[in-house]
Structures are given as C-alpha cells and as structure tokens.
C-alpha cells in the first residue's frame, strides 16, 4: 500500500458518485476549508462530476491568502533591514504588499531566501552566526508545530540570532468567524485533513454542537474527498449534524498530542488579523514570554504605515467564501499568476489560482 493510487481508484470513485447522485435531492452548499482540497477538487475534475444540487465553495484555508496586508508589509520591512536574512516558504515571495513584494525587495538587494522547511532556516542560522536569520512563520496548525520544533532546537543548540515572525493562525476560530458572519449559506464543511491530523477531529465538534453544522474531515485523494461529500450529502438529507472522520487512516479524535504539546509550549493564543475576516479573537499564535528572544516582532520593531491594498482586489471576499474567483472583475483580465494582484492568485493553495489553472470560466454561468 502506498496510500495514493488506492485512493484514486476510478471504480470506487464511480460508486461514491453514484451514491451521491442517488441520495442528493436538496440543494446544499459545502465549503472546503482547505485550499489543498480546492486544488485537488479541480485537478481531479470532481466539481463537474457532482450533481447540480451539490455546490462547492472555497474557504479560508490558504495561509498565504489570509495573511493581512499589514503583516506582509512588516515582513517586507524586516527583510529590507541590514544584516537580516529573511527565510520563507516560496508561496509568499510574489504576494504584493502595499509597496512591492518580497521578490521585489530581493531584487533591490534584500537577502530573502526560500526554504522548504524550518530546519533549512535553522541551518542558514548555523552557517551565518553573524547575521540575523528571520523565519517568516505562516501556516496553520499543520505548520506551527514544525516551527516550534525548530525553535526548541535553536534553543538547545544555543543559536542566538534565529528569529521567528509568527503570523501563524488557528483554523477553528476562522470557521467560527465565517459562520458568525452569516454571509454564506453553508450546509456542511469539508474539514482540513492535515490540520486535523494535528488538532484532532474533536476540535470540530463545536460545528454540530453550536451551529448544527455537519463536518466531514477529508484526505486529499479523490476517494477521500468524495467520501466526505457523500457523508455531508447524507447528513444534509437526514437533517443530521455530526463530525464524520473520513480520513481515519491519518486523523484521530485527539490529533497528534506530541505536536500539540510542542506548539503549546512555544506559542500562546492571541488575536490575529486575517485578510477578509479582520481581527479574529483567539485565532493567532504568538511566542510565549519564555521565547521572547526569538520573537522577530520584538527584535525588529519596524514602522510600516497604513497598508494600501489594491482597490479592486476581492481576495478578502474569496477567502470568506462570499465570492467565486471568476466573479472578481480583475480575475484573468488583470490578475493572473504571472502578474498577481492578490494572494489568492499567487499561492499553490489559492482559490483564484485553482480556477485560473483548471477552471472553465463559463462553468460559473
């Protein structure tokens, strides 16, 4: 078993689709929280195979997309400081801030380096003890424990000039903010499989309990996603709301306790700014006082002035699930992956990038 091909079996996918077509009688709008799901759904052509009663809507599960302009501006300002090496995941490089992107800052002389892992950033810090190495910490609960692990490693090795600019965010509070806004009439949530591998399926129990909202946690292969859709259709038809673990080979009710403990040791929960959602209580991670000396926000207090988002960009509405990308006036006309206006067109998890790469514009009517 390689855990890939087996979950792409076309015959089993057909059975699940037949089941969904047979069971679905009422219109239901499902939100796939995770941008990885959005891309998998497009890549495998699942949207076109579902009955017209089942609508899929992208959610805020793209860390690059939900990073607020002001936070991006701070990161760019830190990258421009003398003696700083700013390390980041590749997706962040081309996202336009108020005045240019990290890529443009690099072209103008800033030392910005793409890393695959926080461990690569740590290695750069080992190799350059005379430089300030800042890791741009974006990502949800999947990524935050890896940053915590790198930071604890830096502490153990006595690496002095390694810093993290923590823009990490928590997913359940974002889901809550979307439901509280009441702007999207949702009938079910496709839960993020890798976030939930860390936080555990129990973290989503508030959805049925407080919102009577069905949730099915899904993996990223076609059978995983179709099984989750089938479970959500089933629940919608029966008026039932539960958390169904449709990714049981990876997700346990209590998640990964080691990863959660490491995250808890290094980070405290705090308010965070989200593109599209604004300031959301208890939705971000900041370094605890015991780790303050690693905190880039304290070590490099930069002034950025008010952020100036592109006036036409609708990424905020896209991450909230209020707008499908083709309904943005900039989509494909002005905003493209080569010349992105907003982050949703840049990121490999962005909804606009998925629609641009795989979508048929006329699909939306």
């Amino acid at each position: 078993m390689r855990y890939l091909d087996e979950f792409r079996d076309p015959q089993l996918a057909r059975r699940l689709l037949d089941h969904i077509w047979a069971r679905s009688t009422r219109r239901v709008c499902l939100m796939e929280f995770c941008g990885g799901h959005t891309h998998a759904i497009f890549r495998h052509g699942l949207r076109q195979m579902l009955p017209p009663t089942v609508e899929l809507r992208s959610g805020p599960g793209c860390p690059v997309c939900v990073t607020a302009d002001r936070d991006l501006d701070r990161a760019i300002a830190i990258a421009r400081l003398p003696n700083v090496i700013l390390t980041t995941f590749g997706d962040m490089l081309k996202v336009p801030g108020s005045s240019g992107s990290l890529q443009e800052a690099r072209a103008e002389g800033a030392d910005v380096r793409i890393v695959y892992s926080t461990l690569d950033a740590l290695q750069i810090a080992r190799e350059h003890p005379d430089r300030d190495v800042v890791f741009l910490g974006i990502g949800f609960e999947t990524t935050a424990p890896t940053v915590a692990a790198a930071l604890l490693q830096a502490e153990a090795e006595g690496i002095r000039r390694f810093y993290v600019l923590s823009l990490h965010k928590l997913t359940p509070p974002a889901m809550r903010a979307i439901l509280d806004s009441g702007q999207v009439g949702l009938g079910g949530i496709i839960g993020p499989g890798h976030v939930t591998t860390v936080v555990g399926s129990a973290a989503w129990e508030f959805l049925p309990r407080e919102y009577h909202m069905p949730c099915a946690v899904a993996g990223f292969e076609p059978l995983d996603i179709l099984r989750a859709v089938a479970a959500l259709v089933e629940m919608a038809e029966e008026g039932r709301a539960e958390v169904v673990n449709a990714y049981s080979r990876s997700v346990r009710p209590q998640g990964n306790p080691v990863a959660l403990a490491m995250m808890e040791r290094v980070f405290a929960v705090d308010r965070a700014d989200w593109r599209g959602l604004g300031s959301v209580p208890q939705s971000g991670l900041t370094l605890r006082p015991a780790y303050a000396r690693f905190d880039a926000a304290l070590a490099f207090p930069v002034e950025t002035g008010p952020s100036r988002p592109h006036p036409g960009c609708r990424c905020g509405d896209v991450v909230r699930g209020v707008l499908d990308p083709p309904d943005c006036p900039l989509f494909r006309r002005v905003c493209t992956p080569a010349r992105p206006v907003g982050p949703c067109m840049v990121s490999a998890e962005g909804a606009c990038a998925a629609w641009y790469t795989y979508g048929q514009d006329d699909e939306d009517g």
Binding site: L12, G36, T118, T142, T146, A231, A259, M262
Partner: protein
C-alpha cells in the same frame, strides 16, 4: 501550505529519519512523531513527519468503499459512529 505526502520510513536515528517518497529518499525530522518505526508510513509536511498512517484503518476504508453497492457499509462510511 498544508500539503503533506505519505513517506515510508527506511531508518530512524534519534529525531532524524530517512523516508522514501515516490522513489526518492530524503531525511526528515520525527520530533513530532517520536514513536515512529522503520516500515511505518508517515505524513511528511515541510520536512517533518506530522502523523503516522494507520494501515488497518486504510484497509478498512477501502473494504467499506468496495462494499458500498451492497448498502451495508453506509453507516460506517457516512456517520460518526462508524469510526473509532
């Protein structure tokens, strides 16, 4: 960002491990999955194993899906009572 792929553990040395992902081997950290053993499949995310894949659960899911047409698997697949 939350992309993670299955990798087969080839060897473990403290908090470092070698995994094979689609025929390519690389070194990762198992600091988040310290109980991992050679032969386990893990989910690899940005150079870390973030979880261990449960083979029995995977086989059970595939078995239930193949029985879907007979109707008996529905409760297990589509409700919260079907999974541990």
């Amino acid at each position: 960002m939350c992309l993670a792929v299955p990798g087969l553990i080839k060897w473990v040395d403290g908090m470092a491990a070698q995994v094979e992902i689609g025929g390519v081997e690389r070194t990762i950290s198992v600091a988040l999955t310290p109980d991992v053993r050679v032969g386990d499949y893990v989910l690899v995310h940005t150079g870390f194993a973030i979880g261990v894949i449960d083979e029995q659960e995977a086989l059970e899911t595939l078995r239930l899906l193949s029985e879907l047409l007979e109707g008996s698997a529905e409760e297990c697949l589509f409700s919260s009572t079907g999974e541990p």
